[in-house]
């Protein structure tokens, strides 16, 4: 069997696929963050908490109301999105004119509150959620047995990421959104309801996080800490991709998932830090990130 640096190509291919699975989560989460930062100029530290809430609500939906995974996939992001809209109206909207640090502090505080509430209710060991029956058999890729559910994660997140990119970059609604970001006052002068757009954008960004949470629910124990374990890495992804860049978030998310996966083979001890090393290197060479535009 051919080997690369002492690792068989078969094992390497397997790790690449797994990297793509993790990258899908990175992409979905960093996409939401990028959308929110791009439109609202808010560094949404509560993003990981909403991802966690998405997963916990999936569990609650099944155990308290008997709602299946498939319904949760649609309903949970909707409900969490509505919660986010309420938060935006009640709290965040007052902060747009202030330094971004205030938004960061507020959302960080919210994240701690959400985590604390769920920790108090369910503890940290986690809640079990089984994989939907349709996906119980693994898929034979020739070089590895990939659980079908993981393949589904890659597929569905790619579709969602592409749809979001298309919506923002290629449609009229997206053009209006981008105009509102560029110059809110001028856009409003054209009779467009900018605050409404901003509110919906926040709701949408958070719904993406909750969607990632639903996807993650069957793959790991649903724990109040699952968001905070992941979110720092996601922030690094957004910084590497370029703050606010939609395409940047998607591409870097996937790429970093793969790089992290490879690190787990060659030097597993560094797998938690490799993202930050890359971030430091990118910031040295391109301070605005790989896909970011330098502000003039």
């Amino acid at each position: 069997m051919t080997e690369i640096f002492g690792v068989s190509t078969q094992a390497l291919l397997g790790q690449l696929v797994l990297g793509l699975v993790n990258g899908s989560f990175y992409a979905l989460l960093s996409l939401g963050l990028a959308v929110i930062f791009g439109m609202l100029n808010i560094i949404n530290f509560a993003h990981g908490a909403f991802y966690m809430i998405g997963a916990v609500m999936t569990w609650m939906a099944l155990n308290y109301f008997g709602i299946s995974y498939w319904w949760s996939l649609a309903l949970v992001p909707l409900v969490v999105g509505v919660v986010a809209v309420v938060i935006e109206r009640a709290l965040l909207q007052w902060l747009y004119k202030l330094d971004p640090l205030y938004g960061l502090l507020l959302t960080f505080g919210l994240a701690l509150i959400f985590e604390g509430v769920f920790r108090n209710a369910y503890g940290v060991s986690g809640l079990p959620y089984s994989i939907p029956e349709q996906f119980s058999e693994p898929l034979n890729l020739g070089f590895m047995l990939l659980p079908k559910y993981r393949a589904w994660v890659i597929l569905v997140s790619l579709v969602v990421c592409f749809a979001t990119w298309f919506l923002i970059e290629k449609t009229r609604l997206g053009a209006t959104l981008r105009a509102a970001t560029e110059n809110a006052k001028l856009t409003q002068a054209f009779g467009i309801n900018v605050p409404l757009l901003v509110m919906l954008t926040y709701g949408f960004g958070i719904a993406l996080a909750a969607f990632a949470g639903v996807l993650a629910a069957p793959t790991k124990q649903i724990s109040p800490l699952m968001g905070s374990n992941l979110i720092i890495g996601v922030f690094a992804v957004v910084v590497i991709g370029g703050m606010g860049s939609i395409l940047g978030a998607i591409v870097t998310g996937l790429a970093l998932g793969v790089i992290e996966g490879l690190t787990r083979v060659f030097y597993p001890e560094a797998s938690a830090t490799v993202v930050f090393i890359i971030m430091a290197l990118v910031l040295l060479v391109r301070p605005a990130g790989l896909f970011g535009k330098r502000e003039s």
């Binding site: 797994l18 699975v21 079990p128 659980p147 800490l225 083979v265 597993p268």
Partner: protein
């Protein structure tokens, strides 16, 4: 007038001096116990608030049984699994709040740091939740006791039993910090000593978000047994991912440190048949069941070995203070090391010169879902491993306090 006042004053001084000679010499008038644990992170279910409750229950029971003349106070703090936060908190406790004894201190990295501060300040550490054998070897101190279990005992219980059943080739999935390294080393020594082979190891960061990559490496090693040298949330996620990737069909998992809270969280479907070693099980005897139920009424879950251990350590520490008539660390340590621990946690437990509390350990097998008759009915006790067999013999100790 002045003379009489002088006389009265000196009399008063005399009386108070003699009074204090009769009463126990307690610094600050209060015996203060600090529970340092992970209140919010991945280990907070197996320790956390439950450890605080254990210590508080011990204080209540001690007061009821022994009617001490001194006051007892329990304080607690979250070390967030960070050695620097833990040692700073303990330093503050010793310097400013006059804490006499610190307990639980799960997470070996934190425990080793806290043991150093404790020795420097001449107070007492009775560690429950940390696993590393370094606490009674390289990092042993005259002021620390390692109470409930250690990685050597876990390895000699679980690894030995599995190798004897034919699981002779191993691959380790190791949490990349003091505890994981210690557990991996002790287990591979046992595996090799019993004629098994270690085919490889992969070290993952603490709190790893995804285990599939690591498990795939374990799978391609073709080892019969995948040893999980990690704990808490990491073990849980590794077991879950192993089931998803179908690894458990051809290879077996050995949870080297599995707490009952982990089994509860994963459910018997995923964990059935797994062998593990534990220092305590709530459903073992009438005495343990009684404690388990009392604890359950307070916390709505059954206690882990760490919770029960914190109770036992606190209770026996207070007994030692009462017997020594002081909270002076040297006197209490001497008392503790001369005592035999006999309670619901340990029978005939002895604290050795290296600080190791030697007591029986239990080899368990997780029940099948249909065998479990009532909530928290999870284990079959396969064997009781006597303390002398379970723990590292003193002759192998690397602790400088042990006279050879």
């Amino acid at each position: 007038m002045k003379r009489r006042l002088c006389c009265a004053l000196s009399l008063a001084v005399l009386v108070s001096v003699s009074a204090s000679a009769a009463a126990p010499k307690i610094s600050g008038g209060v015996v203060k116990i600090g529970v340092l644990t992970d209140m919010s992170g991945l280990y907070s279910d197996l320790g956390g608030q439950g450890s605080v409750t254990g210590a508080q229950m011990a204080v209540e029971d001690f007061k009821a049984q022994y009617k001490p003349s001194f006051k007892i106070d329990v304080v607690y703090a979250d070390h967030q699994n960070k050695a620097d936060i833990g040692s700073n908190k303990v330093r503050e406790w010793y310097d400013r709040e006059d804490v006499d004894m610190v307990t639980d201190v799960l997470n070996s990295a934190v425990a080793i740091a806290v043991a150093k501060v404790t020795a420097e300040k001449k107070r007492i550490l009775i560690d429950i939740g940390a696993g590393s054998t370094r606490l009674t070897n390289e990092d042993c101190t005259p002021y620390s006791i390692h109470y409930a279990y250690d990685t050597y005992a876990l390895a000699s219980g679980t690894a030995k039993a599995i190798v004897k059943q034919g699981g002779d080739s191993w691959f380790f999935l190791t949490a990349d910090y003091a505890f994981g390294h210690s557990l991996e080393k002790d287990s591979s020594d046992i595996v090799k000593a019993n004629g098994g082979k270690v085919l490889g190891t992969v070290r993952h960061p603490l709190n790893a978000s995804d285990f599939s990559s690591f498990l795939l490496q374990a799978q391609s090693s073709k080892a019969k047994i995948i040893g999980l040298a990690n704990a808490g949330g990491d073990t849980i996620n590794a077991i879950k991912a192993a089931a998803e990737f179908g690894i458990t069909k051809n290879q077996s998992l050995a949870g080297l440190l599995v707490f009952i809270t982990d089994v509860h969280s994963l459910g018997l479907q995923l964990t059935q048949g797994m062998m593990l070693t534990d220092g305590w099980y709530w459903d073992y005897s009438d005495e343990t069941r009684k404690f388990g139920k009392r604890y359950f009424d307070k916390m709505k879950k059954m206690p882990s070995m760490v919770h029960a251990g914190t109770y036992s350590a606190t209770f026996n520490y207070l007994k030692a203070v009462q017997a020594a008539g002081t909270d002076d660390a040297d006197a209490v340590m001497k008392q503790l090391k001369s005592m035999t621990i006999n309670d619901m946690f340990a029978k005939g437990g002895k604290i050795r010169e290296d600080g190791r509390m030697v007591h029986d350990m239990y080899l368990m097998q997780v029940k099948k879902p249909e065998e479990s008759k009532y909530p928290w009915d999870y284990y079959n006790v396969k064997a009781v491993i006597s303390g002398d067999d379970a723990y590292q013999p003193l002759s192998l100790s690397r602790c400088p306090l042990v006279k050879k």
